[in-house]
């Protein structure tokens, strides 16, 4: 039971691979779970990147036959699904897991067990989805899986989509609840809501979005699952079904989802701008309210994805106006960031470069957002490359750049090494130039009428040069990512151990060791104001004042049960997919469910009280 106890004492010694593996399989520590999220997310990010390159190679020249049309459909579907659900979200959840508890002065999250369950559900859900490549073909109905295309798609591709996302989505929902309760109940003494760093604030609001958005996806996936696997008629028009229901449910989830992707990086950028301008963030309060407003409005705009469905002019107008309203709080944020830099002593390192590069990129994405929100014009833009360009400007220019910025900024805290600055600059410039080359030209391809999701385009229609430039840009982006990976490996092998506070930071996470001990602080710090570390640097002795004398620390126990539960659901997922072929697969379905339920039962009847790290042990360790 006491796996975690011995951890600190053996830390310095080299451990066998088996021990490390077992440690990660049973861990409930927020930082190790963050590692799992980031490594898992990075793995799927590379997969999604390879899929993107296949798309761009196919569209390199007119009427290319690099891949078949059917395979192309699978690749575009998996590119979108992988990037959104298995790359961007998990890496963000990883950052939140690693940093948020450190920013509020907590020793761990509120439900460490659920946290571990969430990460394993994500990893096994992602693997389940990608197994489809090896067993009869991947899903091919687009990442949006519109019915009836998805209900009538032959083979098991879409079944894998349903089960994989169901697992990963359940894990995300747990994380959302977990973060909310952590932030509310586990802040250090003095850490009032209005003293929380903005990354914690955006984690909080993102978690609310997760809580209210993911259940709609869950239901949508269930309906699709029932139609495909059990002969239900939700989307079967012959039996009175209605395919628009899928679109509504998908986008009621899907639109908040894009804010789930962008809000955490808004928080990360706020930290970076403030730290590297050596200034308090401009308009702290307005930042929080702008975030809340974006989240609130984000729930009322989903139907702008469906303007051409035929909802009628009134519905279209309402959703169009609501969508445009979101530009206001977003604009407030952009101006606040600019004002933070203004008059500050700006340090242009790679983390800051990502942040500065983000502003024009994301603003272009926001501006085209207003364009596609204009109903009459959207009938032209709909399903063209203009839309592709728009959402890549927000998701790559916003989320991916934010992930790079956040990773560069917090790498020392998460992995104990500072990334190499030269390699960081190379990554930034290749990726930044490659990104604009790839996607800026696509606005014009779209305006010229190039539809999305088409396998080939014809010669001499004015699309040749644009597509060539776009494909070259994609390869530049790939170079940037590869340099980043080299950077990570290089500093791990050759880099020096990072200092506790390498950036002269302002917030609480920079007061722990890099990486922190699993109990984070020996004594919980007392928070005296916003940017609490900076406050101590200017008014105190540069160290946090402890909130209590040294005492025993209560920590949760590790457990293998989350992993077993997730494996059970994974097996049950396979059972669901294949029971339509052969009733023997019901064994897998019920067997997998039984494993998971049994693990839940064990968890329920076991007294898991956690363990204590005694005062004496803490004193024994060097300062």
């Amino acid at each position: 039971m006491s796996i975690a106890v011995s951890e600190s004492s053996v830390k310095a010694q080299k451990r066998s691979i088996g021990a490390v593996l077992w440690d990660y399989l049973t861990t409930v520590d927020h930082l190790k779970i963050a590692h799992l999220y980031i490594f898992g997310g990075a793995f799927f990010f590379i997969l999604g990147g390879i899929e993107a390159l296949i798309i761009r190679i196919q569209l390199l020249v007119p009427e290319n036959d690099f891949v078949t049309a059917g395979f192309y459909n699978e690749v575009i579907t998996m590119h979108g699904t992988t990037m959104i659900f298995l790359a961007a979200m998990p890496i963000l959840l990883g950052l939140m897991n690693a940093i948020m508890p450190l920013q509020i002065g907590a020793r761990d999250v509120a439900f460490p067990f659920l946290n571990a369950l969430g990460v394993w559900l994500f990893i096994l859900g992602g693997l389940l989805l990608n197994l489809s490549w090896f067993f009869g073909g991947a899903p091919d109905a687009g990442w949006t899986a519109y019915a009836p295309l998805s209900t009538t798609s032959p083979g098991h591709g879409v079944d894998y989509y349903v089960m994989g996302l169901q697992l990963a989505g359940a894990g995300t929902l747990m994380s959302g609840i977990n973060f909310l309760v952590t932030i509310i109940n586990m802040r250090a003494p003095g850490m009032t809501y209005m003293r929380m760093p903005l990354f914690t604030w955006t984690t909080f609001i993102t978690s609310i979005l997760i809580l209210f958005a993911f259940p709609a996806l869950t239901v949508g996936l269930f309906l699709l699952q029932f139609d495909r696997m059990f002969g239900a008629a939700f989307f079967d028009v012959a039996l009175g079904g209605n395919t628009i229901i899928w679109q509504h449910l998908f986008w009621i989830f899907g639109h908040p989802e894009v804010y789930i992707l962008i809000l955490p990086v808004f928080g990360a950028f706020s930290e970076i701008f403030s730290t590297f301008s050596k200034k308090r963030i401009f308009g702290y309060t307005s930042m929080i309210f702008a975030t809340m407003l974006i989240a609130f409005l984000g729930f009322m705009v989903w139907a702008h994805h469906m303007f051409t469905v035929g909802m009628g002019p009134i519905a279209n107008t309402i959703f169009s106006v609501a969508t445009m309203a979101i530009a206001v709080p977003t604009g407030i944020k952009i101006f606040n960031w600019l004002a933070t830099m203004w008059g500050g002593s700006v340090k242009l390192n790679s983390a800051m470069m990502w942040a500065i590069g983000f502003i024009p990129s994301f603003t272009i994405g926001g501006m085209t957002g207003i364009m596609v929100a204009t109903v009459a014009a959207d009938y032209q833009y709909h399903d063209t490359y203009f839309v592709i360009a728009h959402f890549h400007y927000t998701i790559v220019g916003g989320t991916v750049m934010g992930i790079f910025a956040g990773l560069t900024y917090w790498w020392p805290k998460i992995f104990g090494r500072v990334l190499n600055e030269t390699l960081g600059q190379i990554t930034f410039w290749t990726f930044f130039i490659g990104f604009h080359m790839t996607f800026f030209i696509q606005h014009f391809l779209g305006l010229m009428g190039m539809p999305r999701r088409y396998w080939v385009f014809l010669e001499d229609q004015g699309l040749d040069t644009g597509n060539l430039i776009s494909s070259i840009g994609a390869f530049l982006m790939a170079v940037g990512v590869i340099v980043f990976i080299i950077n990570a490996i290089y500093v791990w092998l050759k880099g020096e151990k990072a200092a506790n506070d390498p950036w002269d930071g302002r917030t609480l996470e920079w007061t722990t060791a890099s990486p922190p001990e699993h109990y984070n602080w020996k004594q919980t710090p007392l928070i005296r104001g916003l940017d609490c570390l900076w406050l101590e640097k200017t008014e105190g002795n540069g160290k946090m004042i402890p909130a209590h004398p040294l005492k025993d620390i209560h920590m949760p126990n590790g457990s293998i049960l989350p992993f077993i539960m997730s494996v059970g659901f994974f097996i049950a997922g396979l059972g669901f997919i294949y029971q339509t072929d052969n009733k023997l697969w019901y064994i897998a379905l019920f067997g997998g469910m039984a494993i998971s339920l049994l693990a839940m039962l064990v968890r329920s009847v076991q007294d898991d009280l956690g363990h204590y790290i005694t005062k004496e042990e803490l004193k024994g360790e060097a300062e």
Partner: protein, 107 residues
């Protein structure tokens, strides 16, 4: 966390309070049963106009659910601000969802 357990022991004061609380809960249960009976009676008798009946049914359901939340689930008590915020937020998202699926479905 609970070092102050001893000062927190069950007193007659708390027992009395719990009792009064329970009495209120029984009253709200009675009101819930009454509103259920009214709802079923409206439908069974069929005396009411369709639109009006549906409207009334929803009001009765909402009242009943309010009793559940505020009395049975103690949402009226202190320390329930955040649960209330989340339930109201969920209800708002729920309203939008149902509204979208009912009003903006293309037939």
């Amino acid at each position: 966390m609970t070092e102050n357990t001893n000062t927190n022991q069950l007193t007659d004061y708390h027992k009395q309070k719990n009792k009064e609380e329970m009495k209120r809960n029984v009253i709200s249960f009675a009101l819930m049963i009454v509103s259920t009976i009214i709802a079923f009676a409206i439908v069974a008798s069929g005396v009411m106009d369709r639109i009006f009946a549906v409207f009334l049914l929803f009001i009765l359901a909402t009242v009943q659910v309010a009793f559940q939340f505020f009395y049975f689930m103690h949402m009226k008590e202190k320390g329930h601000a955040l649960p209330a915020v989340m339930i109201i937020g969920g209800t708002w998202a729920a309203f939008l969802t149902v509204f979208g699926l009912v009003a903006a479905v293309w037939w």
